[in-house]
Amino acid sequence: MAEPLLEVRGLSIAFGGLRAVQNVSFRVPRGSLTALIGPNGAGKTTLFALVSGFLRPDHGQVFFDGRDITGHPPHLNARAGMTRTFQIVQPFALQTVRENIAVGAHLHIAGRAAALAEAERVAERVGLASQLDKPAADLTVAGRKRLELARALATRARLLLLDEVLAGLNPQEIGEMIPVVRAIVEDGADSGVTVLMIEHVMQAVMNLAAHVWVLAQGQLIAEGSPAEVTRNPAVIEAYLGPGTAERLRKAHAP
């Protein structure tokens, strides 16, 4: 197996008595679209914060592109090519959509005009082209999710950590967003963006992800293809409570 783009080894963090993430290890292959799922409070966003550098782990290591980046601050990780988005969208509310995306583009582009032009190109890819001059505060929820994605893309990240870019969208908006996410990975244009997403919307996970990890109470309890993990009794019980897998099987038995 080729060297993974991201490798996490034995990552743990505790907040007082709450062990939010316990001994989590996984490897994200280059050019893949993978997902991290799990019930509410499983520690998914905390895991993202550990990987991207917003939190420092108590134990364990994070390797990005073969380099140990454990404990590096987020802005250095972004410069190295790993950018996260936020589940609760964080737009620069006073600025226009174009200016928001340009902040991401400025990571590698010094000139203002060039960064604004780049922002336009990125906006087209995520379907924000018609709203470039709106203040970010005036966008709908769906628009803000696209903006999160666009800003992260504009940094020319090689690894995008997408934290629930579909949460809060209606079924039609989810249907529109799925191809946008897929195109990021599959587009030849920016050869080799790898995406790891946290997602609750199973329709999207089934549709998009090649490989899924399941986190529950801070621990990885299963991994595999989306179809595999959704049949896994441990996963069903993590979502629906102990004993449910057994009952479901009986109910479906002829």
Binding site: H75, Q95, E99, A102, V103, H106, R151
Partner: protein, 320 residues
């Protein structure tokens, strides 16, 4: 481009006014309005564009003024060279206080309090040590000559201040159209999002603090040249801090022309109140306070944002 044209127009208009008027009252008005503009624009760089509300900008002002005085009186240094030293010293104080405050993540009211505290510390130090003249202050001998950075008419100071204000406007325009400015505003609007996009918030805020402090230091040095006298209360007392932030807030933080409008408006207001209610000392401060309350309540974007404020009030009224 539009900003450059507007700045050029501003320089031409104010410069022409300073050259055309001969009355001392008019020249004094131009001089003091430009001085207030310089303070407000310096504060705006860190407060308006960086979102870090300092309540102790006199710290940098006083550092500039004292270094200007000490360099000339104790060091025998040429006035123009001393101006360079004063600006450098103020920037260094900005770097020191900024590094301490931002390193430990002080934001909002905590940042305001730490800057106020540092200004007070410097005021007490200036009161205690001999080389600042302690409570007596320092007095600069009057030798009016452009080479000595002193002028026999307010016109000279007005033109000097106009040069400084133009520089401050140019730097502010640069903040609006540059990578650094975009990153600074990103940190102001959402620090976590900025970090995720590769921006180092500490370095960004620190740079803005140094820039802002340098202009405050220049204002302090020029103040000394104008009045030839400085003491701890003038240098580090809260009056200058309040004047700087009030001009920017009343005019419109984070805009190019807001601090100019705010400084002018407050200056006109204080002149009017002094003339109308001269018999009641301190009444101008009362009116200042009232104006601030009205502005913050009804025009959060200041004078420069008056159009948008009225529109949103109107729309809010119709909706409500």
């Amino acid at each position: 481009m539009k900003d450059a044209a507007a700045i050029a127009l501003f320089v031409l208009a104010v410069g022409a006014a300073a050259l055309a008027f001969d009355s001392g009252v008019a020249l004094n008005f131009i001089m003091m309005a430009l001085y207030a503009t310089l303070l407000a624009q310096a504060w705006n760089m860190l407060g308006g564009y960086g979102g870090q509300f300092s309540f102790g900008h006199a710290l940098f002002f006083g550092s500039g003024a004292y270094v200007q005085a000490m360099a000339q009186l104790h060091g025998g240094i040429h006035a123009w060279a001393a101006l360079g030293l004063a600006v450098g010293a103020a920037a260094a104080v900005g770097a020191l206080v900024g590094a301490l405050a931002f390193r430990y993540g002080l934001k909002g009211s905590y940042f305001a309090l730490i800057t106020l505290a540092f200004a007070e510390v410097f005021r007490i130090l200036a009161l205690s040590v001999p080389f600042t003249g302690a409570g007596v202050g320092l007095m600069l001998p009057l030798r009016a000559a452009a080479s000595n950075l002193q002028f026999d008419s307010p016109r000279g100071y007005a033109l000097l201040l106009l040069g400084m204000v133009t520089l401050a406007l140019a730097v502010t325009a640069w903040l609006r159209h540059s990578r650094f400015g975009a990153q600074l505003q990103a940190v102001r609007d959402n620090e976590d999002a900025a970090r995720a996009l590769g921006i180092d918030p500490l370095r960004t805020k620190l740079s803005a603090c140094v820039l802002s402090a340098a202009f405050m230091g220049a204002a302090g040095a020029i103040y000394l040249q104008m009045f030839q006298y400085i003491d701890p209360a003038i240098a580090f007392g809260p009056t200058t801090s309040v004047e700087a932030l009030l001009g920017a807030i009343v005019g419109g933080m984070g805009t190019l022309w807001g601090p100019v409008l705010g400084a002018l408006a407050l200056h006109v207001l204080s002149d009017l109140t002094r003339n109308l209610f001269g018999a009641l000392p301190g009444i101008n401060m009362v009116i200042y306070g009232l104006v601030l309350v009205v502005i913050v309540t009804f025009m959060p974007r200041g004078i420069a944002g008056i159009g948008r404020s009225v529109r949103s009030l109107w729309q809010g009224g119709r909706r409500g």
